[in-house]
Point group: C2
Chain length 844, copies 2
């Protein structure tokens, strides 16, 4: 009988229970039982046994039922390998039949007996045999009596063309088979996959002797947990209901509170000994299972039983609090705490969330492009967002798509909604950088700019200044105002992240462009700036006009004059950034975007510009036309501009060095890192290097101050990856701009991919959106190839990723494995990145 | 004295002369001398000796001058390693000084002596000492006398502050040093580079005893060659002038013709024996030097001397004729003939050329985008080109840039001129495919579409219907009509190419999209179609409207209805193509471009379309907006369309298979090759493969006919190259679309690169335009990597290049070395490609 013992065991067979064999629920119950808590007798069906059943083996009902005596009923609960993989609903009172029903009527009284048998007949019919719930309307509408039972049994027989099964063996077999089938269903598989369950996720079962919760003496059932599910603070929460089973207490109007409560009666007052016992069990269970639990308990003739235990329900913020408390109570160590939080959970804590209690009317779904929720008045221009912001009124910026000219407006709005675009469109990338909730690709909405309104698919209209809410976490656009839960970057989270940081072996930097962004990055724990996009500084009003002057300059000389006006502004920005980062490294990328991004697109703005520059509108239009490109992504930008119009880089480099000198004079040690974008040949790197060196020498001799700096390349083209060996000879670092590198490796524009990305992921052409998770097989190979060639030529070459992938846990794992020095991501993803890096170390 | 012997030798020292040591001119003179022809005594200065002089060694003038007696003068001629590497101008009469001048006056008479000395003084002053030519105006303006010599000597002394050198040793040293300096000058280096000379190209010198050509008895000099320089036919051409030196005969009004001529006196009549001797020498020289020569001869007292020999001047067409004749006369073998023609020379023969005799006013220079010259009336739209064509009037299509909607118009025009774009812009690529002369990026011209005119930088205006000429070989735009030389794809060239084909070990296919293009390709010797861009068939008027219907279809069903109309048209085209190619393989690429390329851009056309499709104009505008893309190159096109709108590929594949069945029924054996574009993952390849297989099975069962086909991938993304191992498992061929692959590897749009490409090549950031010559180090590595991975998984995998590079000799060499199966290029480059492939074999 050894073989059978492996398949199912008594809950008391200590040596046999291992989490991986019987599932998480079985293991928890085993632990409770091992502390001598009053857990009813049970048989555990192992995961292997279930697999055998799935592949055709008959269930050994005889062996299982040998544990129970003939009068007993039992519950059947799924016990998945991991607690959050879901599982089919629990079935109670299995084993009940006409004979036992007669007996129960005598022992518990008719009401209780009817209640028990009806519950089983209905759940067997509906959950197990998949009968239509509506068939039982008549049974449910009347006060349950003996005749209700008769009616239910007749309905069953009429529909199924066979009588309700009377043999506990048959019942057990059918219930188990149905539950195992449900576990393998497509829906269940998809739900599990969202929780990272593997394709072959296993499930065991707990077949437990029923404790009734109904009967003559005080009986009933309840649920308890010992923390507040919203914030994780210590608080006994739950309900208890006399003469009930399962989770009835949660719905029953006459349920008791557990602790003393002004609103009504409580278990604490009503049965203080039971309450005290429950609290003690709760405390013990927390120690033995090393987690906060939710317990299903039943009182059977005043005796307390613990039927089931599951991890207590908790919000993301509560989860962190629970873990910090467990560590402080020395129940788990820091590593375990860090390991238990999925990095993406942190996202919720950094952004406002829709209140779980709020009711909402969803008018459309788009691409969830930047997490968090926001409520505000609709505006259709950055200017209007700014005007409302001055009046301290929240706005949601609604546009077909955003462009660089909207960046300023995005600082003034609470959220962004665009009709077009995908995960890596301008709106999405910028919003994530700013930590601004954002939905893109909401193409079920039509934006009517002329009439200043939005029209939904159903014809509903929203005008300018109407309130809407967007949830950038789910992609839902919601009508009107909605209650929000504020973010929780609190002490608990900070403590938790500090632990993660101590474990992690990868530096996390942030992509931040302005002193304001840099401040956020620092607050979130960034240990440096990995990507400071200097051109972002040029979009502010006063700078934009000078920038445009520069673009319209007719000669190198005029261009220099315009650039000289920008120099002190950039220098001042760099000074501030150096100060905020207080000695942490700052990597500054020189000018990157094509010049046409700085030119106005709309007629009115063109008129204004013409006037400001004393040019004709046709001049403006012509220059705009001249600079327009077929494929701006692959055009005249980055180092190509740096080489063709060298004055721009010269100004920027001078601003960096002058800021460095000033910072040094005020006592800081700054070694700025200068990075050039869109490199495809070593010669580009060399040409700029020579120019930077000459500016460095000029500033050194002008100021009489020596300083150091680092020079590096943003690797964004496949060619730069292939030629990393050459390039590494001239630089001290390579930082992979994986957004562009992905675009070029796939030949896929992130702005245009939205149109088919969902289709492509659904058809599994792409396993994942390669702009979200680094494509290990293609882009990843280029990274490794560049690493090997680069370090082959320059063993101390620093390597990093500064694309969007820098904040993606899977991609971070890749960087850890690859031995990179750091990743850099948007400030709001820094905590996630820290945690992901810690997870990698713990999982090694 | 062994060392000296290596540095300079007598022309008669047979064992010492080798081409690589003394240069091509020395070798030719040596060969003539070895046939006992009357070549004057000479010393050869070796290339090594010159290198030593360059690195500071003093010239051993004593050793050199030992060959000549004291009264003799000598000429100094450069002898570069390869004949077409240029070299400094020849200097005559070196060694002349006041003393010899006095002697000469007595022996030759004053006139002759003055002429000789003046020639030397002037060329020494101007060519060697770099004095300003204008200084000698007074000397040149008067009849040369004794006092002219005195004046010239004085002018020299005044300017140089030292007397004219009298020592032959000094003269020799200064002349040689100056000529060696000129050889190393930047200008000379750039000129040589255009002829593929290496950086360290060497030069030797011939120092030859002067035969005067002046004197009392019949003396004079002349030039002769034995072929017509325009067509290469046998014809004695040249001039002779009594009492002259050097090349004076070519300018002298009293020069004699060589053969009897109605226009004047001839050497043949005047000195029949000398003429006969000259012809005999010419014939012997052709045999010994294995080439047609141009001989510099001098008659000195009736005695004929041969001073110099160079390859005869010849046009490209003459060059082919000469080689074919040399082979037929068994003077050289076919390999030698093939080796002697630079592949790019063939271009000239396939396109009309500007007549070398025509005078032309160049109004602007643009990018020489497609070779050949064309004259016609300016038109600003494809429609007008078509209207003029109907009236048999030639037109030049002038546009800002062209788009797919212009393809039809381009069939009707003689040449294309665009203001924007680079070597690989739409206009350039299409024109090359059509063999149509084209200039792009002519941004010095302003095209004023409103007023229908072109304005040049100087303000000159050209209206619609004015004549202009474009030379797509040089990039020159010329005012008015110009005489053209018609192409010469004649029997000689065909014979020549057949020899090349026999040598080559790489198949040459052509990129051709329509039956007309395919016919051209076949005529030019293409051994298959490597890229048939099926969508080109959709731009014809009747098809374009159906295509647009398809784009505006609301459902899969409507889309299918539209596609069903296109099916018979495509099938008929494929039938024709199969028939023309007569069993040679045809590789058909499925639909590639983004749909918006098929939509109208101008208001009028939109109105027409709205009417045709019974839609509102706002519908048209909206759909156009919906389909517009930020970076079309990286957008919704290629296999991405094929997977999202599978009906398009299904229709195309069915058309291919139905045409195959029909062709088979008419007795041809067709194995069509189906290729899908813009692949980035293996899954894409698999999805389309399944769909193609199912269409194949359907057609087989409907027609009851079996057929075979090949399936492959156009590798255009870096990722497809990296994943070639996976992909190769599902396909029988990979064809590299190196245009797109280059764009993506560099992150460089070919349409936008024009703006800085010239700058980049000039600054040597790119050694060559990577769209013209395959970038070996980046793109090339991806090709080799894909080859290794692909053939690793599928050893019989066929590999090829079907981008523009398929017609570039350097890139073809790469493909030969890489062991590729074929290259495919535009029909007009097929002969060049054949020759390049032959050259590779010969150079191995």
């Amino acid at each position: 009988m050894k073989k059978v013992v492996n398949d199912y065991i008594h809950l008391t067979s200590q040596s046999e229970v291992k989490r991986t064999k019987f599932g998480a629920r079985a293991r928890r119950l085993f632990l409770l039982k091992s502390m001598s808590m009053p857990v009813p007798r049970a048989v555990l069906l192992s995961i292997d046994a279930v697999r055998k059943i799935q592949s055709g083996k008959k269930i050994d009902t005889k062996g299982i039922l040998a544990v129970f005596n003939e009068q007993e009923m039992f519950s059947i609960r799924a016990s998945p390998e991991h607690w959050d993989w879901g599982g089919p609903q629990t079935i109670l009172n299995v084993g009940l039949n006409d004979v036992k029903f007669s007996t129960l009527k005598m022992t518990l009284g008719e009401t209780a007996a009817v209640k028990l048998y009806l519950r089983f007949i209905l759940s067997f019919s509906i959950d197990i045999m998949r009968m239509d719930e509506h068939l039982f309307e008549d049974v449910l509408s009347e006060e349950p009596t003996d005749s209700s039972v008769a009616l239910a049994l007749k309905l069953y027989e009429d529909e199924m063309l066979s009588p309700f099964p009377q043999s506990p063996h048959d019942q057990l077999e059918q219930v188990l088979n149905s539950m195992i089938g449900a576990w393998s269903s497509t829906t269940a598989r998809i739900l599990r996959k969202a929780h990272n369950a593997p394709e072959n996720a296993g499930v065991g079962f707990v077949i437990q002797c029923m404790v009734m919760g109904l009967g003559k003496r005080e009986s009933g059932s309840g649920i308890v947990q010992f923390i507040n599910p919203l914030d994780g603070s210590k608080q006994v929460t739950g309900r208890y209901l006399s003469q009930s089973q399962g989770r009835d207490a949660l719905e029953g109007k006459s349920s008791l509170f557990l602790t003393k409560d002004a609103r009504g009666r409580s278990l604490e007052e009503h049965m203080p000994e039971v309450f005290e016992q429950l609290c003690k069990f709760g405390n013990d269970a927390r120690f033995i299972t090393k987690d906060e639990l939710e317990l299903d308990f039943t009182i059977d003739g005043k005796k307390l039983w613990l039927l089931d235990a599951a991890p207590a329900r908790r919000s993301a913020r509560a989860a962190i609090k629970v873990l910090v408390d467990l560590v402080q109570d020395e129940i788990i160590d820091k590593n375990t705490a860090v390991k238990r939080v999925e990095p993406r959970v942190i996202t919720e804590l950094l952004h406002p969330q829709l209140s779980p209690l709020a009711k909402s009317e969803v008018i459309c779904r788009g691409v969830a492009a930047s997490p968090g929720a926001a409520t505000g008045q609709i505006v259709f221009s950055s200017k209007m967002a700014q005007i409302l912001a001055l009046k301290e009124k929240p706005s949601i910026l609604v546009k077909l798509e955003t462009g660089p000219e909207d960046i300023r407006g995005m600082h003034f709005t609470k959220g962004v909604l665009t009709e077009r675009g995908g995960m890596t469109s301008h709106a999405a990338v910028t919003a994530r950088g700013l930590g601004l909730p954002c939905i893109v690709g909401a193409n079920a909405l039509k934006i009517d700019l002329k009439e200043k309104r939005i029209i939904t698919k159903t014809g509903q209209t929203f005008n300018e200044y109407d309130f809407i809410t967007i949830d950038g976490t789910s992609g839902k656009v919601i009508s009107g105002k909605t209650d929000l839960v504020e973010p929780a970057f609190n002490d608990g989270l900070k403590t938790f992240l500090r632990w993660a940081e101590q474990i992690a072996n990868l530096t996390i930097r942030a992509n931040a462009d302005t002193p304001a962004d840099v401040t956020v990055a620092r607050n979130f724990g960034a240990k440096g700036i990995g990507l400071c996009r200097t051109e972002q500084m040029f979009f502010e009003d006063d700078r934009l006009i000078v920038m445009r002057e520069m673009i319209f300059a007719d000669s190198n000389k005029e261009r220099k004059v315009a650039l000289e006006q920008l120099l002190p502004m950039q220098r001042a920005d760099f000074m501030k950034i150096f100060k905020i980062m207080d000695g942490f490294p700052v990597c500054i990328r020189l000018f990157d975007p094509p010049l046409h991004e700085f030119l106005p697109r709309e007629r009115q703005e063109m008129l204004e510009l013409a006037e400001a520059l004393d040019l004709s509108v046709s001049n403006i239009i012509e220059r705009t036309k001249e600079l327009s490109e077929f494929n701006p992504m692959l055009g005249m930008r980055g180092v190509r501009l740096g080489i063709t119009l060298p004055e721009i880089y010269e100004m920027q480099v001078r601003a960096i060095f002058e800021a460095t000198v000033l910072a040094q004079k005020s006592g800081m040690l700054i070694v700025p890192e200068i990075m050039i974008p869109l490199v495809s040949t070593q010669k580009e790197v060399e040409l700029v290097k020579v120019s930077i060196e000459s500016t460095a020498n000029a500033v050194k001799s002008e100021t009489g101050t020596d300083f150091k700096y680092k020079y590096g390349v943003m690797v964004e083209t496949p060619r730069a990856s292939l030629r990393a060996g050459d390039i590494a000879k001239s630089v001290s670092f390579l930082s992979f701009g994986t957004n562009d590198l992905t675009q070029m490796t796939y030949g896929l524009s992130r702005d245009d991919a939205g149109r088919f990305m969902r289709d492509y992921v659904a058809k599994e052409v792409f396993n994942e959106d390669p702009f979200r998770t680094l494509d290990k097989d293609g882009v990843g190979e280029l990274l490794l190839l560049a690493r090997d060639r680069g370090r082959g030529q320059n063993p101390i070459l620093s390597l990093s990723v500064c694309g969007e992938h820098g904040g993606d846990p899977t991609s971070i794992k890749f960087c850890c494995e690859a031995g990179f020095n750091y990743v850099s991501c948007s400030p709001y993803r820094v905590p996630i990145a820290i945690l992901a890096a810690a997870h990698y170390e713990l999982g090694k």
